[in-house]
């Protein structure tokens, strides 16, 4: 899946007028007659970031799809080899920029595994609270943008974003920044929330199901939405497992694999929540997975606010500066809102990691895009891409 360019083909007919208009070029194939090769992106009107799909069409049907990415590659992993472990933490905010709290946690998890660092109880609960709030944020974004791709003129997007703004305001009051939170540290959390913050967060979480109910009333039974998403982009569970997909995309195909349950990350085993599973693996199932997961997140949050113990938020033995883990390797993984987010670190005893690798769930989930889109029209391909939930910061790092 390299970023190869259109080499060896004739001059293109570019469209004048609107920017972001796709470049089209007829492709002559001896078996199929005239196939049309369209390059959608990297500037899309239907966003998702700088991502390009080179789609070959036979009439309306897609016969071949090649995703091209790398437009947002920022050398994150190489930069991490040259900076200290702590200094990489703000960079992890910018990987999956919608879910900075859980990305921070995954990185902190890997480093704590590497150095054998303990984490106090209150910090564990806070981490779960932040991760589940992030899940609410991310899934709101996803359902909003999915409906935007489907053609509503921004209405469901703005409703979802209205709720997301309230959570982002909470993050700003706590960590100083809405999205680039830089909140987790090795051995705990950076800032202790005040009782006012906890009360406001608790009230918001209690109100959240009402927004979900309104959203579902508006959209889940909508006949046009059902016709556009059911049966579109089916994903076979065996293929999904073989390709290493994780997250709601995998669970929509019916595979029961949630790292919160499998690994028991942090204090998740203390919470009572269910994992929803789909049956058909189409776009509708992937959308409903997110809605149901949001409801489960609300349950987890309500339990967490009740059970949050008092105590320190950082382990007293944790060192901020001069952190040198012993030589070794560690892989720390989490159920981020997009899937299995993992950090693989190899340390050689120095203050900087010898190798730093991110397992980006968006990228791995994207590998089956072609299979999901074959046989559908180009309007469907945009919807399928939206339902996989990619963030280019994570795909390209």
């Amino acid at each position: 899946m390299s970023c190869s360019d259109q080499s060896g083909l004739d001059a293109e007919f570019s469209t004048f007028g609107r920017p972001g208009g796709p470049t089209v070029r007829p492709v002559h194939d001896e078996f199929h007659g005239d196939l049309l090769e369209v390059s959608m992106g990297p500037q899309h009107p239907s966003t998702h970031g700088v991502f390009r799909m080179v789609v070959t069409l036979d009439g309306e049907q897609i016969v071949k799809l090649k995703p091209v990415f790398g437009y947002l590659h920022r050398n994150h992993e190489k930069i991490a080899e040259g900076t200290s472990y702590l200094a990489s933490m703000p960079y992890t905010d910018r990987l999956d920029y919608l879910c900075s709290m859980s990305t921070n946690w995954a990185y902190a998890l890997a480093v704590e595994k590497l150095s054998g660092q303990a984490v106090p109880d209150r910090a564990q609960y806070l981490r779960i609270i932040m991760a589940e709030l992030t899940r609410l944020v991310n899934h709101s974004c996803l359902v909003g943008f999915l409906f935007n791709d489907l053609g509503t003129s921004f209405t469901p997007l703005l409703y979802a974003f209205r709720e997301r703004e309230k959570i982002l305001d909470l993050f700003e009051a706590l960590s100083g920044s809405r999205m680039m939170c830089n909140y987790q540290r090795f051995g705990g959390c950076r800032v202790d929330p005040t009782p006012e913050w906890l009360a406001a967060a608790s009230a918001l979480v209690d109100n959240f199901p009402r927004f979900l109910d309104e959203y579902e009333t508006m959209l889940t039974g909508n006949e046009i939405m059902l016709a556009r998403t059911q049966g579109v982009g089916r994903l076979d569970p065996q293929h999904a497992i073989n390709a290493g997909l994780t997250g709601p995309v995998l669970r929509a195909s019916g595979v029961d694999y949630d790292i919160r349950k499998v690994d028991g990350t942090g204090f998740y085993p203390r919470f009572d929540f269910r994992v929803p599973l789909g049956a058909h693996g189409d776009t509708y199932d992937r959308y409903m997975m997110r809605i149901l997961e949001m409801r489960e997140s609300v349950k987890i949050l309500q339990q967490a606010f009740k059970a949050l113990p008092a105590g320190p938020i950082m382990d007293p033995k944790a060192k901020l500066r001069g952190f040198r883990p012993k030589a070794g390797e560690a892989y720390g993984r989490l159920e981020s809102p997009k899937g299995e987010l993992g950090f693989y670190l190899i340390s050689d005893g120095s203050p900087n990691p010898w190798r730093y690798r991110v397992r980006p769930p968006s990228l791995i989930n994207l590998t089956l895009l072609e299979e999901m889109c074959l046989g559908h029209t180009i309007a469907d391909s945009v919807v399928i891409l939206g339902s996989i939930d990619i963030v280019l910061g994570e795909v390209d790092r």
């Binding site: 007028g17 508006m218 059902l226 556009r228 059911q230 509708y284 309007a379």
Partner: protein, 401 residues
């Protein structure tokens, strides 16, 4: 001073200022000027109303900062936004592709606006306020409206861009598919009233039962079905959501309007709004009683005000639909037209025929009449609806153990 006849008195006064030979000419020139000015301004305010209504629907404020040129403090709630947009559209550079067919490329926006405006000539805006009294008004209306589709093809062909031609053909497929339900939904009205003249159809919807239930066609079973089909078809004819696939951003090509910029682009959208307004006006005339008041005690309000209110109500409804619904895919769109709307419209025709034949029934037979008519509407709707939405249903989900 009678508010009801004020426009007519004004027109007669101006005509009387001119010598006899020119009077006919001035009379019609006034009608044309009045329609152009009034509906030009109506278009401007439809755009701002759309933006502000959509905004409120989406929990935000719409444009509210464009005040007046020299009095910066006065924001006027953003109501002068359309004039600002017009100035912007006029001053933009007009890019014409070098290989394009210059004549067709230039004529397409002109033709589409001209033919969309022609439809306004036969709408009865008030009791005696109809610009041209035609016996075959509805026929003329649809002839003029269908000619706008020609302009879309001119735009696609004249651009000399293979892909904008393909997109124009697809837009045309949508428009032609929905002409049929549009016209078929109107035929029952013609059948029942017995005339093609719009002013007589508006007159025929007068009268109230017990002073509060108007005799509008929409309050009869066949009229209600016809009105709903008309609404759906009108949305599709004006390329509005949920049928705005030709203008969609996620579609293959930017559409038949690719090669247009500046004022010509604005003209296409003006034509779309004029078409929508004209169709709404026709819908009001045929189904919502035209200029008739809804209740007997409200008859003192001038008839043209009623017409405008109903017209504005329909436009607000269309904007509401736009803010809520998703876009249909092209195959779903055409399937909806041919397999759902056309059969229902044909059955509606039979329903209207039954209604006309049983016009003489009185007493308890009136209930039978209404019941049978309602059944002819509801039963096929449920059957066809079930077939159309087969396989699509909300699902329940299981949870991992």
């Amino acid at each position: 001073m009678n508010l009801e006849t004020l426009p007519l008195q004004f027109r007669d006064w101006i005509v009387s200022l001119f010598p006899g030979a020119l009077q006919w000419f001035v009379h019609h020139l006034l009608s044309i000027t009045a329609i152009l000015t009034f509906f030009g301004l109506f278009f401007a305010f439809t755009t701002i109303a759309e933006r502000k209504l959509l905004a409120r629907l989406q929990n935000r404020l719409g444009p509210n900062r464009s005040g007046l040129p020299w009095f910066r403090r006065l924001k006027l709630w953003g109501l002068t936004q359309p004039f600002a947009d017009a100035i912007k559209a006029i001053t933009k550079e007009d890019v014409v592709p070098a290989v394009a067919d210059k004549v067709l490329h230039f004529l397409a926006p002109v033709v589409i606006v001209a033919f969309s405006l022609l439809g306004f000539a036969v709408l009865p805006f008030g009791r005696h306020l109809i610009p041209v009294e035609l016996d075959a008004a509805i026929l003329y209306f649809f002839a003029a409206g269908t000619a706008t589709e020609l302009a879309i093809f001119m735009a696609g062909w004249g651009s000399r861009n293979k892909y904008s031609l393909l997109a124009a053909m697809r837009a045309l497929a949508q428009l032609i598919s929905y002409e049929l339900p549009l016209i078929l939904s109107v035929v029952p009205v013609i059948l029942v009233v017995g005339t093609l003249s719009t002013s007589e159809i508006a007159l025929a919807q007068g009268g109230w039962t017990w002073g509060i239930i108007p005799h509008w066609h929409v309050f009869t079973p066949w009229g209600f079905a016809g009105f709903v089909i008309f609404l759906v078809a009108a949305l599709a004819e004006s390329n509005r959501s949920p049928f705005d696939l030709p203008e969609a951003e996620s579609e293959l090509i930017a559409g038949h309007l690719t090669e247009y910029s500046g004022f010509k682009y604005a003209l296409f959208f003006m034509a779309e709004y004029f078409g929508l307004t004209a169709l709404s006006g026709l819908g009001v005339t045929l189904f919502l009683g035209g200029w008739q008041a809804p209740f007997a005690f409200l008859e003192f309000i001038p008839s043209w005000l009623w017409f405008m209110t109903k017209l504005a109500g329909m436009i607000v409804f269309f904007i509401w639909i736009r803010g809520t619904l998703l876009r249909l895919r092209i195959d779903q769109l055409t399937r909806l037209a041919w397999k759902f709307l056309v059969p229902l419209a044909l059955l509606n025709l039979g329903n209207a025929a039954f209604w006309t034949l049983t016009a003489g029934w009185t007493g308890p037979l009136v209930l039978v009449r209404w019941g049978v008519s309602a059944a002819i509407v509801i039963v096929p709707f449920l059957l066809l609806g079930r077939r159309l939405s087969a396989g699509y249903a909300p699902r329940t989900y299981r949870y991992a153990a």
